[in-house]
């Protein structure tokens, strides 16, 4: 596999979002010597991955148990997405830049890798990085650099590659790994549990507010590889943290599989804000190539008044299949899901959330904005479940679809299960087509057609963008503009 992940804390370079003409500008390949394990999946491959990472016995056992369980499962077929069968034996499950001997600092990182991140607009040199964002860079299967580590450590915050956490903080890993997304959870999460290679690990101790954004930048580079990263974020009682992930991949004609798992644990009075700007290679106009993005993300509000907020801007990938969810276990806990999903050309997205209300007075908010252009297909799928004990639980769901062409599709699948009569669950949905009259109105004010489309789309997404950290909101807007180029007319 091939993934580049940069964990970083704060701002990204606006260059990432620079406009190009209908081109995926992150599509370059880094020419670097790779170390890969042979294609295919079996217990030996898993042992090899575990050995390469010098893992403790419990990790290997966990992987093997997951693998054996995976063999009994079938790929899910309930979503709206369609793709040719995936040959799981044709994938490399591990790829890493060869020079790697776990660099101690940036001067030991291969300059070719540093250049890659610079090109992506993510300077790993701390003096160049903007204050306030620590970054972890994951390249194919391994983390290549983490910035601002010292500063974070002085507050007791752990922000490091997952593989490092397994070594240095195995107690925490053992306690929390799989506690939100068990290895039995679903086909792709189970596969991930068996073969995950790296990812980010965050622990924020009791009462600490993390002073900077933490960010991981995932990069897939190697060919015929999958990326299976795993992220675990724990906010201890009263702690708070805001985390952002970004991702890109080279343009390749074949599809590549990305099956990640993210687990969030918020203890009593803790707050986690998790933002994603997903820009994996979407494939070309005809639907050749692109990333299959099958991701399991879930947060557990494990204590009273815990708060977990997911914000996602999904513009990339040939297929997106993800449902960042919240288990609202604590009383008065809060779950939020804000999503913009854009599908252009032949992209497909089936995305949404699950809000599971267990605690009393638990509240959840869902705002989903789907934009379909070209021949894109976009489905919102959401479950709001109120268990018998969740007295006075409240949910509000707003689910809007914007159609940009005559060939695209939008679907909405809301599932509501309420077992407590005091609960309030509201669902609103709208579908609109971008109007010629609106476009004409704006153009008659001097705006180009492109600017007019962008203005309308940004207005449509506003409720979601305002949840993103400022810098990223600007980037997300630009990304949307690039993704929509040529969508009209």
């Amino acid at each position: 596999m091939n993934h580049a992940e940069v964990r970083r804390a704060e701002t990204r370079n606006p260059e990432v979002a620079q406009r190009v003409t209908d081109e995926y500008r992150w599509g370059f390949v880094t020419d670097i010597e790779q170390e890969t394990v042979p294609k295919g999946l079996n217990e030996d491959v898993i042992r090899l991955i575990s050995a390469k990472k010098n893992e403790p016995e419990f990790m290997l056992e966990w992987r093997l148990t997951a693998y054996r369980h995976w063999l009994t499962l079938r790929e899910p077929a309930w979503s709206t997405v369609h793709h040719p069968p995936i040959d799981y034996q044709a994938i490399h499950y591990y790829a890493a830049p060869k020079t790697r001997t776990q660099p101690k600092n940036l001067s030991e990182v291969d300059p070719e890798l540093l250049r890659t991140y610079e090109k992506l607009g993510i300077p790993l040199q701390e003096r160049e990085a903007l204050a306030g964002v620590a970054v972890d860079a994951v390249f194919d299967s391994v983390s290549v650099a983490t910035t601002f580590k010292d500063k974070l450590e002085s507050l007791g915050i752990i922000f490091c590659p997952f593989s490092e956490a397994v070594q240095k903080h195995s107690g925490l890993v053992r306690e929390y790994l799989g506690s939100v997304v068990p290895y039995t959870d679903n086909y792709f999460a189970t596969l991930n549990s068996a073969v995950f290679t790296d990812g980010s690990f965050v622990y924020v101790p009791k009462g600490v507010r993390c002073p900077m954004e933490l960010s991981t930048y995932f990069r897939i580079n190697a060919k015929n590889s999958g990326q299976f990263e795993r992220t675990l974020i724990i906010a201890d009682e009263g702690a708070s943290v805001s985390y952002l992930e970004g991702c890109t991949a080279p343009m390749r004609d074949e599809n590549q599989l990305h099956a990640a798992v993210v687990e969030l644990v918020a203890l009593k009075d803790a707050r986690i804000k998790y933002s994603t700007v997903q820009n994996w290679y979407p494939g070309d106009r005809e639907g050749r190539g692109g990333i299959y993005n099958f991701v399991t993300k879930r947060g557990d509000c494990r204590g009273d008044r815990a708060h977990i907020s997911w914000t996602q801007v999904e513009t990339g990938s040939a297929i997106t299949w993800k449902y960042p969810s919240c288990i609202l276990r604590g009383d008065d806990s809060v779950g939020e899901f804000y999503s913009v999903a854009l599908t252009n050309h032949r992209q497909q997205a089936d995305t949404g959330t699950k809000m599971i209300h267990i605690g009393k007075n638990s509240r959840s908010t869902i705002v989903s904005k789907g934009i379909s252009a070209g021949f894109g297909s976009n489905a919102y799928r959401g479950l709001v479940k109120v268990l018998p004990g969740a007295a006075n639980a409240r949910n509000h769901t707003q689910c809007d679809s914007l159609l940009m062409s005559d060939h695209c599709a939008a679907h909405t699948f809301p599932y509501i299960e309420v077992k407590n009569p005091t609960a309030t669950v509201e669902h609103e949905a709208t579908t609109s087509k971008i109007g010629d009259d609106q476009l004409f109105y704006l153009r008659s004010r001097g705006l180009s057609e492109e600017d007019a489309v962008n203005l309308i789309v940004n207005g449509f997404c506003k409720e979601v963008f305002k949840e993103l950290p400022m810098e990223f909101a600007v980037e997300a807007q630009k990304l949307l503009a690039v993704s929509l180029e040529g969508a009209i007319g």
Partner: protein, 256 residues
């Protein structure tokens, strides 16, 4: 400034305008009146570049350019402004954002520097004051949840910010209370300038009490059936349109 000759326009297969001739010189105010459905808005929209309105004959020159060859945004940048009879809502987009994007698009096309947020705010606040409008207008989404009258006033604010050379107001006075009517009139009068022209599409004489037109035209059945000075509007107020109606509308005429 604007020269329309023998303009024929169809929507789909349906002929709507059947040979419009109109000359508007810089510095003039023209009023266009006429019964419902006679083609006034069609004319206004065609001048602004609305797609789907097919010009089947005739031509339009604007400042010595072929207006019909320009895209809507090019017309706007060349100084044409249409205040819509039914302004559109753009949810989630703040008024101030549209105004600034619009003004900067126009400025860019003229190789003028774009205004940053602060300079722009100064400019726009001046306009708000001129029109006696509240700042809160700026931060509401474009026309979303606006009352009918607020939408019309918002059109005038856009006009004031863009300072067009040819302003076409399509029934901007309809649905306004007395104060708002004065605001609109004030906005138009403030724009008056020897280098600019205004076309007012209206049903009512009362607007023309505040903005005295140089010429008044009656559009009926897709043609201008009568032109005169400001007194024509007063006469129409008294007599209605019946005495001016053509014997057949273009819809019932055999098509060539």
């Amino acid at each position: 400034m604007l020269h329309i000759e023998n303009l024929h326009v169809s929507i789909g297969d349906k002929p709507i305008l059947a040979g419009i001739d109109l000359d508007v010189k810089a510095g003039e105010v023209h009023a266009i009146m006429g019964p419902n459905g006679s083609g006034k808005s069609t004319l206004a929209q065609v001048l602004a570049g609305r797609e789907g309105y097919v010009v089947t004959a005739g031509c339009v020159r604007y400042l010595d350019r072929d207006l019909l060859a320009l895209a809507p945004e090019e017309r706007a940048r060349a100084g044409v402004f249409l205040a819509f009879q039914y302004p559109l809502e753009i949810p989630g987009v703040a008024n101030v954002q549209l105004l600034r994007t619009a003004l900067n698009s126009v400025r860019r096309s003229r190789n003028e520097t774009e205004l940053d947020a602060m300079d722009f705010l100064d400019t726009v606040k001046g306009k708000l004051e001129l029109l006696g409008m509240d700042d809160s207008f700026l931060y509401r989404a474009v026309n979303e949840g606006f009352s009918g009258g607020e939408k019309k006033r918002n059109e005038i604010l856009q006009m004031a910010v863009l300072e067009p050379r040819l302003a076409i107001l399509d029934e901007t006075d309809s649905g306004l209370d007395i104060d708002a009517l004065k605001t609109v009139a004030h906005g138009v009068n403030a724009l008056k300038h020897p280098g600019r022209a205004v076309i007012l599409v209206t049903h009512y004489q009362r607007l023309l009490n505040y903005i005295v037109p140089d010429r008044v035209h009656v559009l009926a059945g897709g043609r201008i059936v009568r032109s005169g000075d400001a007194s024509l509007a007063l006469e129409l107020e008294e007599r209605g349109y019946g005495w001016l109606m053509p014997e057949s509308s273009p819809q019932t005429e055999a098509r060539p």
